[in-house]
């Protein structure tokens, strides 16, 4: 059972464009939704995170939009740069196992110069 579904699997964007990655979750007990960025050969690194009491969080060029009723959240990368090329994972945490992160399958983002 996949509790966090992520799409698309891969995404190609031109430099300066907007990258959008979507995730949907099933467990309504989740109460923390981070996004991780992973470069080849490296571990995932926390990018930005949101709790369900807000609908949007922005940090620099990165924005999370959260729709609690639809159980969906998305990552927007504005003014995408070639250095943003990486794999992005959404994740969710909370409920009875509030220490455990459940990850999506990842989106491979390529930003062309």
């Amino acid at each position: 059972q996949q509790q966090v579904k992520q799409s698309p699997q891969s995404l190609i964007v031109q430099k300066g464009g907007i990258s959008i990655i979507n995730c949907a979750y099933e467990n309504t007990a989740f109460d923390y939704f981070p996004w991780y960025q992973q470069f080849p050969g490296k571990g995932p690194a926390l990018l930005i995170a949101i709790r369900p009491d807000v609908s949007e969080k922005k940090e620099g060029r990165f924005t999370i939009s959260f729709n609690k009723s639809a159980k969906q959240f998305s990552l927007h990368i504005m003014d995408s740069q070639p250095g943003d090329s990486a794999t992005y994972f959404c994740a969710a945490q909370g409920g009875g196992s509030n220490y455990k992160l459940t990850f999506g399958k990842g989106t491979l983002l390529t930003v062309n110069p």
Partner: protein
């Protein structure tokens, strides 16, 4: 150290061999996690320690997998009688008590031939 370190970074084992993977968490971090990341997939939870106590091992795939953290700092993930399906990147992460921000190490890439 500045971050989570893992060793070895790469390990090649023949099927049936035992392997031990080491994780050095960030100093002072109470919580330690092991995740398994198959090629092209998101990390999957294996086990969780709070100090030296293993509070959750529900993600360990079989009884061939064993993890320990005897002094509440360094942790070792041991895989006995390795199988080809054990080939993956094994990620270690640490965080403060009840802190949702996980810091991941670079991972150990295990290849079982």
């Amino acid at each position: 150290g500045a971050g989570v370190s893992q060793s070895p970074r790469y390990k090649v084992a023949k099927r049936g061999q035992d392997v031990a993977l080491r994780c050095d968490p960030i100093s002072g971090h109470v919580s330690l996690f092991w995740y398994q990341q198959a090629l092209g997939q998101g990390p999957e939870f294996l086990t969780y320690f709070q100090n030296e106590a293993q509070l959750d091992k529900s993600g360990l795939p079989s009884d061939r997998f064993f993890a320990e953290r005897p002094e509440g700092s360094v942790s070792t993930l041991k895989i006995q009688r390795t199988q080809q399906e054990d080939s993956a990147v094994y990620l270690c992460a640490s965080t403060g008590f009840r802190d949702p921000f996980l810091f991941f190490g670079p991972g150990t890439r295990l290849t079982v031939l």
